[in-house]
Symmetry: C2
Subunit: 273 residues, 2 copies
Amino acid sequence: MLQDRSRATRDDGPEHSPVAQAQGASGTGPVISRALQILDAFSAQSPHLSLSELARKAQLPVSTVHRMLGELLTWGALERDDQGRYRIGLRLWELGSLAPRGQGLRERALPYLEDLSLVTRENVQLAVREGTEAVFIERIGGSCAVPTLTRVGGRLAITATGAGLALLAHAPAAVQNDVLERPIIRNTPYTITDANRLRGVLAQVRARGYAVSDRQLSLDTLSVAAPVRSPQGEVVAAVSLVVHCSSATPAALADLVLSSARAINRALHMPVS
Amino acid sequence: MLQDRSRATRDDGPEHSPVAQAQGASGTGPVISRALQILDAFSAQSPHLSLSELARKAQLPVSTVHRMLGELLTWGALERDDQGRYRIGLRLWELGSLAPRGQGLRERALPYLEDLSLVTRENVQLAVREGTEAVFIERIGGSCAVPTLTRVGGRLAITATGAGLALLAHAPAAVQNDVLERPIIRNTPYTITDANRLRGVLAQVRARGYAVSDRQLSLDTLSVAAPVRSPQGEVVAAVSLVVHCSSATPAALADLVLSSARAINRALHMPVS
């Protein structure tokens, strides 16, 4: 998932990446870019990598990767597992936990997500928008609920999930155009891939106050999501319920996610303890 | 918290840090070190920083910080808030969520931590050891429970918390010696600061199978912790209950944390879904 975003940089090669060019003659660009390329090689599918796998995925010479690994290990960005492979280190996890849009929001929202989970026994998720994608920052799986594709820190299509549609409906017009001008992947026969139909869906989300994805991501799931707003009124996240498509009507779930979203809005107004 | 670990590097200045020296003539050392120094400037106490605050905290010239910020922003390691200050970006949070010792362990353990929280209505915590410190990777606050000092991604004294003692008791001898040879901060009159007494406490933790901190971190809290083991038998984490010091006996809490730790051990044996 993380890899997708950096593919352009890697395909161009570090010296010719837009970032490296933007740095011009400063000389710092390629070095930091290469370090970030190494970190980008890790993904949920490949959390442990050997030196040669890292070099291949980062498209860098083994000698370059080896030289940089020392420093990344010393600082704790990477660790070695008991088989000598590299993995993302706890230090990077700690630093990431300082991201206000990740851990900060998650901690404020968690009690309300747990309430929603207890009441419904269904999958509860919290997502934020990063550019043109939805990133899931929390999921609580229901004990008997339908399996979902979501992973904390993972990304799913912003046009095919309830949470994604709730976020996109309130995104700046430039972001909406960016998403709708690209080809949209068809996950199921129910996935809406037509830009004009999606614009209609987004208008409906704004009018109703909640978003519905009915089998648009996978054939057995239905998700209903409501936007979470900052004290300034900006949509900063979406809370969603993901259920088996036959188990409930969207309108009944909407009341639950809307009240949960309102409770989280209220929590975001409270001073940080 | 994060800052403490990097203080030595910062005080030495980037060019003369051990890391930079170890990199020798490669020339990559100082650049990556400086980028990491910039990230290290952020802490739970200072999650939003201006350019000049960043330069001051990282002990780098404003021009250097400004040049590197461009690249860190482009990649998403940092973001700007609505007042133009810098903060840790969602991208770094996503990358950190790939750390097996952070998010991976947390996700496996969370259902059991929630069970323990529901049954006790007390504070439940999960910690791992990073060098000579305990890092809390999850906390679930009890609804009527005693307030705690813990923060997810935060560090607390390894000798003054139940979770810390459970981790230290099973740490390599070199780590124990390293901790016990340094002066130990007295948090309360009950904090054990004598190295020999602490060695006795660690032996007792190993013999009993659980650790107790009775008002050693703050005057109103008692914590009881049990080690969580990997399928290879290595202690990889500790689960703890933190209660008001007058509300329960350690032995009664020990049974609860021990059975929760055993359930998490079992979950770590299951294949990743």
